[in-house]
């Protein structure tokens, strides 16, 4: 688990470094995820070399278990940022109704437009019988 966490943190660290150095508007952890994806591709392409040199957890499923453990508790990680709401109750109560309408209507429109576009375009691109 420690080895897997170390690799995840390393990917994030490199991602942050790339994001900072390039000034691109992409968050460091997203670049880190891309790097991790690259690592997995290379690991499985050269499976025998990877098994010989990498620590066991990185090739025998430990990394997968750690990552899924983190993702299973993704909700928890939003609590601290969300609690920040207590400091902004003034703005929220002053504009409460308008803000609620904007947020809810916009979310409903965005969800519908996105899902309908994805479904419609995948129907055009491939015949419906072999879509999963």
């Amino acid at each position: 688990m420690i080895v897997s966490l170390a690799l995840i943190l390393l990917a994030q660290l490199l991602g942050e470094a790339v994001a900072h150095a390039s000034g691109a508007p992409v968050p460091g952890p997203v670049i880190g995820a891309a790097l991790m994806f690259g690592f997995l591709l290379i690991r499985d392409r050269y499976r025998s070399i990877a098994t010989a040199i990498l620590p066991r957890p990185l090739v025998e499923g430990g990394l997968e278990t750690t990552a899924k453990g983190l993702l299973a508790h993704l909700s928890l990680m939003f609590v601290p940022a969300g609690v920040g709401i207590v400091g902004r109750l003034d703005v929220l109560t002053a504009n409460g109704l308008a803000l609620a309408i904007v947020l809810i209507v916009s979310v409903v429109l965005t969800l519908s437009a996105t899902a309908l576009t994805l479904a419609a375009v995948s129907r055009i691109v491939r015949p419906p019988e072999d879509s999963p």
Binding site: A33, I104, S112, S122, R126
Partner: protein, 238 residues
């Protein structure tokens, strides 16, 4: 009596207390969500937030003090984002087949999110400061705060609006798509991640790993596109 007070003063300043409060509130909220069969309205984040917020209000604790403890949990958001690469890798086959539909949905969804927020906000008479903060509401907190800061807006307000959007999205997504009869888990997940960033992604993972994977991709892509489009869109309505 003064002994109790001294103990409180000591504990309320250590990270331990607020970390514990956060985890206990989340555990209660998550258990409740589980007991209701993951009902959208029993969203664990939403209920953990108000319970923790209530404790802070009742004890008169400033947010900074709270965050010193809660930052350990907050920190894990970065590693969790990196961890999204693993389900993505395992499903790279179905992701590759859906590349074109995803890009189309990304562009349509991102523009819908921005225009609807800006146009509605103006129509309802919100101040320009609030409109700047509400425009990037569908992207993940860190990115939204960065965008708003560059534009001279209020990053804290942006973070709060992002969280509210995420909570609204996570609650609405399942009933809305049942109503619209959209059963494609890829479309449902992708839309949840695009409209409601990490909270939508967390919700999608509760439903299925395929939906969660597509939500994670949408969240990453939308952060990138929104960061580029917000200044343009705000310039158009000025």
């Amino acid at each position: 009596m003064s002994g109790d007070f001294a103990l409180w003063v000591y504990l309320s300043r250590t990270p331990l207390l607020w970390l514990t409060v956060t985890l206990v509130a989340y555990t209660i909220a998550d258990r409740f969500s589980e007991a209701t069969g993951r009902q959208p309205l029993a969203n664990p984040v939403l209920h953990a937030i108000w319970m923790t917020g209530l404790v802070l209000q009742l004890t008169g604790t400033p947010y900074q003090t709270y965050f010193e403890g809660a930052q350990f949990v907050h920190f894990l958001l970065g590693p969790a984002t990196v961890a999204l690469a693993l389900p993505l890798y395992e499903r790279r086959g179905i992701v590759r087949r859906a590349l074109l539909p995803m890009l189309a949905a990304l562009v349509v969804g991102c523009i819908t999110a921005l225009t609807s927020a800006i146009v509605l906000g103006r129509a309802l008479g919100l101040s320009h400061e609030i409109i700047v903060a509400i425009a990037p509401k569908s992207v993940t907190t860190g990115v939204a705060m960065g965008i708003v800061e560059t534009l001279g807006g209020d990053p804290t307000l942006a973070a709060v609006l992002v969280m509210l959007t995420g909570a609204a999205g996570a609650i609405i997504v399942t009933p809305l798509f049942n109503l619209l009869r959209i059963r494609d888990l890829r479309a449902r997940g992708f839309a949840a991640g695009l409209a409601a960033h990490g909270l939508g992604t967390a919700r999608a993972f509760q439903v299925s790993e395929t939906a969660g994977t597509f939500a994670g991709i949408a969240m990453g892509l939308n952060a990138f596109l929104t960061a580029m489009l917000v200044p343009v869109m705000l310039g158009l309505v000025r």
